[in-house]
């Protein structure tokens, strides 16, 4: 479906260090892909190469059996069906929200790209449907400077989608956006992938965004991809550099069983065990993906009684990785993995060994509420 091999050399200019990008990305499913890495690792540059705004890059770019760049062939940005959200504000200030969206539709309709496009969406991504989905209807006559950051970002997402893109590229789309708007946009993006099968690549250096949104993760560092894989799989690899930081965490897929309205708790099934976590009534769904930080999981050899911790999961120790101060314990529950970080002292006290059965204690409040 999508293949990109990108190489870019930038010599040392005006105190900026020389930079080189050498990356190969391929995928064949419409889902949400994340490019994660520190500033300067080349994430944004990679997106700019894909969109055609870095003419000096050597790249081979194929999407849905169509070649957009290779050697001397270089389709101009206008002919690439890649919706792109840069990090800059770019809604046209002299047009209302609705006019901005109409402009995108007109451009897409007029550009030569539409006739060449390998597959079109049926039904096409439609303005009124997007305005509804992204809750922009009431704002349609506002000018960009009358919109909040979150509203602007939703508008830009709608605008990018109205060009009927075959791929959506989002560069740090959640910067300066408050928590609630962010969660809302996470939900919309997931719906967009589900509804129209548009694959999304988003760039972020904020780990919680990766946890909440990404299905597949590319970790970038100094112009290259160091690790990639399904997000849950990458996270469960103890050797992954993220796991040596306080960000070490696990992603679990759970199924809804029932909802405790009084306490706003979801009771969900994780394999053959149950798990409780907070979710507001409007966020109830049939399945959830939840994230738990490794430092929020305690281990016990026995099932505790009279304890405030609501979740006690029976698990098997399958790997132990010792650090200077702490140990990471990889646990298996059915087909899913959980990572716990404990002190070396606890490791010695419990005398944990691979193959042993333990109880993972997880506070409900430590479970990241799912992005709906």
């Amino acid at each position: 479906m999508f293949y990109a091999k990108v190489a870019l050399q930038r010599p040392n200019v005006r105190a900026l260090d020389a930079f080189s990008l050498d990356v190969e990305i391929a995928f064949d499913r419409p889902q949400i892909y994340a490019l994660y890495g520190p500033s300067g690792s080349g994430k944004s540059t990679l997106l700019r190469v894909l969109t055609g705004f870095e003419p000096s890059a050597h790249a081979k770019i194929i999407l849905k059996n169509r070649l957009y760049q290779e050697g001397d062939k270089h389709s101009p940005p206008q002919q690439r069906p890649f919706g792109y959200l840069s990090q800059h504000e770019d809604l046209l200030p002299h047009l209302t929200l609705n006019q901005n969206l109409a402009f995108a539709e007109q451009c897409a309709a007029r550009s030569s790209r539409t006739s060449e496009q390998p597959t079109r969406y049926t039904p096409p991504l439609d303005r009124s449907e997007l305005l509804n989905l992204l809750k922009l209807q009431p704002l349609s006559h506002h000018y960009p400077d009358q919109l909040s950051q979150g509203e602007k970002q939703r508008t830009r997402i709608a605008r990018a989608l109205l060009q009927q893109p075959q791929l959506l590229l989002l560069d740090e789309p959640f910067v300066n956006i408050d928590h609630d708007s962010k969660e809302m946009i996470f939900g919309y993006l997931k719906k967009v992938v589900e509804r129209w099968s548009v694959p999304i690549i988003f760039v972020s250096h904020i780990f919680s965004e990766i946890l909440a949104l990404s299905d597949y993760l590319f970790i970038m560092d100094r112009g290259g991809i160091t690790i990639h894989g399904e997000t849950a799989t990458v996270l469960s690899d103890l050797n992954n550099p993220i796991n040596s930081t306080h960000l070490a965490s696990s992603l679990l897929d759970v199924t809804h069983i029932q909802y405790d309205t009084t306490h706003q708790l979801v009771e969900a099934a994780l394999e053959d065990q149950t798990l409780l976590f907070h979710a507001s009534p409007e966020h109830i769904q049939t399945t959830y993906r939840i994230a738990i930080y490794a430092h929020a999981i305690s281990l016990s050899l026995e099932k505790p009684h009279a304890c405030s911790i609501l979740n006690t999961l029976k698990a098997t120790v399958i790997d132990i990785e010792q650090d200077t101060l702490d140990a990471l314990i990889k646990l298996k529950i059915g087909r899913q993995y959980l990572i716990s970080r404990i002190t070396l002292r606890s490791l010695e006290t419990l005398n944990l060994t691979v193959g042993q059965t333990v109880f993972a204690l997880i506070k409900s409040v430590a479970i990241t509420p799912p992005a709906f």
Binding site: Q78, Y84, F103, C107
Partner: protein, 242 residues
């Protein structure tokens, strides 16, 4: 009607002064229109040009600002000569000469006022935030669409400013006209030449009235230009500054 001795557009001016003034206004209006038609697409293309081209083009466009108008006029006179390439082709096409004609004057004015119109427009185009242009390109907008839908609306104040300055500057044209236009009433006798004639013939009263009229008109025009430039503008916002 303007030559009707019983009626006068500006009562304190003599009919010949009014003829000269109207000629100047006609010249300024047509030159400005022509300049906008040339400067807008040229400035737009120039914003995409490589740096050396920009430097060369901007220097060339700025030449009339620093050259004595007589230098420009001298070269135009050479170019307008019937045996020259330009003057010859013009003669073949129209049967008239460019020198000492209104058309020649217009051509001279276009060159003479070019920087006043082109510079504000080019600078405004250059100041359009790049993300606007890039996002439009990403949406599939052609270069012409970007000019019409983004650059022109965002830069309309600078374009008005350029047009106003070009108009006012052409109104005050003297040196170039002196070289290429001569002094034919209703054809090339513009208001600045008329004033010069008054002074030459020691008609200081008439000179004073005409000079004051021109001063007042130019000042009013510039006031209008700068008011437009500094107007805060209600919605839609049309500032080009990010």
């Amino acid at each position: 009607m303007f030559t009707d001795p019983e009626w006068s557009l500006i009562p304190w001016l003599a009919p010949s002064d009014i003829t000269a003034l109207l000629l100047s206004i006609k010249l300024a209006a047509l030159s400005t229109l022509l300049l906008l038609l040339i400067a807008i697409p040229a400035a737009w293309l120039l914003t995409r040009a490589p740096k050396p081209v920009k430097i060369l083009a901007e220097s060339t466009i700025a030449l009339p600002l620093v050259l004595p108008p007589t230098v420009l006029g001298y070269y135009l006179l050479l170019a307008f000569a019937p045996h020259s390439w330009l003057g010859g082709s013009w003669h073949q096409l129209t049967g008239t000469t460019l020198s000492f004609s209104f058309s020649g004057l217009m051509l001279g004015s276009v060159l003479y006022s070019l920087p006043f119109v082109a510079q504000p427009i080019f600078n405004a185009f250059e100041r359009i935030p790049k993300p606007y242009i890039e996002s439009a390109m990403n949406l599939g907008a052609s270069n012409t669409t970007i000019l019409h839908r983004i650059a022109l609306p965002l830069c309309k104040r600078s374009i008005l400013m350029g047009a106003g300055l070009g108009f006012a500057h052409t109104l005050g044209e003297f040196g170039v006209v002196l070289m290429i236009g001569g002094n034919i009433p209703g054809e090339t006798q513009v208001v600045a030449i008329q004033l010069y004639d008054h002074v030459e013939s020691l008609a200081y009263d008439a000179a004073n009235r005409l000079a004051l009229t021109l001063l007042g008109a130019s000042f009013a025009l510039l006031l209008l230009c700068y008011s437009i430039h500094y107007s805060t503008g209600s919605s839609p916002p049309c500032s080009t500054q990010k």
